[in-house]
């Protein structure tokens, strides 16, 4: 292969990893939430709230750091609402998650009205001088934006947490058998709330990446179903962090290929190409769910079930 082709491939991979960031962050957050036994279908709503909060805060303060912080707080506030309802008022998790998404779509559109049409300076890529200039791998390994590295690091930390840390074991115990964990004396609801809040913060960040880095602007409903794709990725990953990241890269790749094919002027209507990520999600779900034993063995046993300490 010629150097040019390799270089183009490297650039394609860079674009793929960028497109994967929001999917990966949201999927990792939801993975932690689900490991504790809680199914939060509000990912899309939390992402949108995070996106609008990040954009508003960055435009108002001029600081992207504040924007990212605001996104995490906004995502956590939404998650807190969900956690309070499902864990303390014992509401149905599916219905409450749907409500969170509907509410998030409305709230973000409401808050974002005044910010439509504005732009922010997108997050700069890391520059390590000579290292980032190395042909082929320079851009790919040393020249991405900080959030790409954060995503990688987060994947590693979550893997370590569930595989090696004692606290991770407790979260898993709560997700597998909340009554047993409660009997031993673990505060099941608090632990679950923590996992829900972590999920909210991650989804907020995922949304912030869209409005600050990926498209640098606020558009109503800009997540375009990514929250739901992230939910599917958790199943695809059979609740394993590295597989979630891999799945996100796969979907990032589909998005990028679809954009490039449109750019190359292939004679296919743009709508057909835009369908690809959604159709791919369905295909992936079918392939992974076919083996129901594998899902049953990997899914947290108490997922989606209401837990009340007094029985």
């Amino acid at each position: 292969m010629s150097i040019e082709l390799l270089d183009a491939t490297a650039l394609l991979l860079v674009a793929m990893m960028r497109a994967a960031v929001p999917l990966a962050l949201a999927a990792l957050g939801e993975l932690v939430t689900e490991k504790s036994g809680v199914l939060n279908l509000g990912v899309e709503g939390m992402m949108l709230t995070g996106a609008v909060a990040a954009f508003a805060a960055t435009v108002s303060t001029g600081s992207m750091t504040f924007g990212l912080l605001a996104a995490m707080l906004a995502g956590m506030a939404m998650a807190l609402l969900f956690g309070f309802l499902t864990l303390y008022l014992l509401t149905n998790q599916v219905a409450t998650g749907l409500a969170l998404t509907i509410f998030g779509i409305g709230l973000s559109a409401f808050v974002g009205q005044g910010f439509v049409g504005q732009t922010v300076e997108p997050m700069a890529a890391v520059s390590l001088g000579a290292l980032s200039q190395i042909p082929l791998i320079g851009k790919l390994v040393f020249g991405q934006d900080p959030m790409v590295y954060l995503t990688l690091a987060l994947t590693g930390v979550i893997w370590w947490f569930f595989a090696r840390a004692r606290a991770g074991l407790v979260v898993r115990a709560v997700g597998e058998s909340p009554h047993a964990a409660h009997a031993i004396g673990y505060p099941v609801r608090l632990i679950r709330l923590g996992a829900v809040l972590f999920g909210g913060a991650c989804c907020g960040l995922a949304g912030a990446y869209l409005s600050l880095v990926y498209t640098p602007m606020w558009v109503e409903g800009m997540t375009a179903g990514r929250g739901w794709i992230a939910l599917a990725l958790v199943v695809f990953a059979t609740w394993r962090p590295w597989r979630a990241l891999l799945g996100a890269w796969l979907f990032g790749g589909i998005t990028i290929i679809q954009l490039h094919v449109q750019g190359m002027g292939v004679d296919l209507p743009s709508q057909v190409l835009s369908m690809l990520p959604y159709l791919a999600t369905i295909v992936v779900l079918v392939l992974i769910s076919r083996d129901s034993t594998r899902i049953r063995l990997n899914a947290p046993a108490s997922i989606g079930k209401v837990f009340h300490p007094e029985g």
């Binding site: 509401t91 509907i102 709230l107 369905i282 779900l285």
Partner: protein, 365 residues
């Protein structure tokens, strides 16, 4: 187990569900939503009573407004009655929006194919086509769920995006109005393909009768048929349903086919009613709002009818505060989301009592 002395409110399980709370909690949720909404308006710097009046009362002061209320409640009720059937059986179809879109595509396709024709048979054919379209789109998640165990929640939602893109493809391409100055819209349907208006000076159309028929039909299935009973049992205790020999597959298929058909009917009623042509978007999210309607109506057809009217009002109210007070239209979504939250939260009162102070007796282990 030792309990620390506490004045925190606690939840104590009731022996059985409180029947009065089943009907009281939607009202409670509505009152709390009004209070929270008023607070929101006040915080935004508006006069709360005036804003609430504009949102909830002013749309109902004209005959046209009342007609619009029914026009918007029609698709909501149609979708929600189908969804409620599934929700009762723990089947989560959240893609009614996509099934509605497919109903619009199929029904609208018939209307465009019969553009140069006249005849009483065109409308019934469109209605049947719309219902078949919705059913087909609903059959996909049902098939993938029963055959491959794929989550019906995610599949039905993904298909909503696909359906919207297919509609967009059609109105940008083959179905675009040849005399439409390149706007992505179909021809305006011929008179034979438009639902008759029931009340002069309003847009109240024949589709409202479909919704009423669906209320009666939905009630009949739930209350008077064995299938309705099976769905209910499978939803409450799948294990008991399994022992009784009820089939989960059947519940999934039935839920999706019925809700798909009703959503499709809503879709064709929209394009043959108030819209009168195919456009890239044929619904402001009726299929999603129907989820709220189903819960607010307690999954019961009559309750759904009332809830659909209330949610229709939230659309009209959003438009009213946009025109009258310059608030963004998205305030509708905020109200809808809040209402569902408060409803879910207050539902805890159905199965639990709120108690203050320390428990009277030791809790069960």
């Amino acid at each position: 187990m030792a309990h620390k002395p506490s004045f925190m409110p606690r939840l104590e399980p009731r022996g059985h569900a409180s029947p009065s709370m089943v009907y009281l909690t939607p009202l409670l949720a509505l009152v709390v939503t009004l209070l929270a909404g008023g607070l929101l308006f006040q915080v935004l710097g508006f006069n709360a009573p005036e804003a609430l009046y504009t949102f909830f009362i002013s749309p109902l002061t004209t005959a046209y407004g009342l007609g619009e209320l029914v026009v918007k409640a029609t698709p909501l009720a149609l979708c929600a009655i189908g969804l409620a059937l599934g929700f009762r059986g723990n089947v989560w179809n959240i893609g009614a929006e996509g099934q509605l879109t497919f109903g619009a595509i199929f029904g609208g396709g018939v209307a465009l194919a019969c553009y140069d024709m006249e005849g009483w048979w065109i409308l019934p054919l469109m209605v049947v086509a719309g219902m078949v379209g919705g059913m087909l789109w609903g059959a996909i998640p049902a098939f993938l769920k029963t055959r491959f165990h794929a989550s019906e929640i995610l599949v039905s939602l993904m298909l909503t995006y696909v359906a919207t893109l297919i509609l967009s493809l059609l109105v940008h391409g083959p179905w675009r109005d040849p005399e439409g100055f390149n706007f992505p819209e179909s021809r305006i349907f011929s008179d034979s393909a438009l639902l008759p208006v029931l009340l002069a000076e309003t847009r109240l159309h024949f589709g409202a009768l479909f919704a009423l028929a669906a209320v009666v039909g939905g009630w009949f299935i739930i209350a008077r048929t064995f299938v309705g009973f099976q769905i209910k049992v499978m939803g409450l205790t799948p294990a008991a349903g399994g022992y009784a020999g009820f089939s989960q597959r059947k519940v999934v298929w039935l839920s999706f086919l019925v809700s798909g058909a009703l959503a499709g009917l809503a879709g064709v009623s929209e394009v043959a009613g108030p819209i009168g042509q195919l456009q890239p978007t044929v619904s402001p999210g009726y299929g999603f709002t129907a989820i709220i309607v189903a819960f607010l109506g307690r999954l019961h057809p009559v309750g759904i009818l009332l809830a659909a009217l209330l949610m229709a009002l939230s659309y009209l109210g959003g438009e009213a505060v946009q025109i009258g007070m310059g608030l963004p239209l998205a305030v509708t979504g905020v109200f809808q989301g809040m209402l569902l939250f408060f409803l879910l939260a207050s539902d805890v009162l159905i199965r639990y009592r709120v108690r203050f102070g320390r428990p009277q007796q030791e809790a069960k282990a």
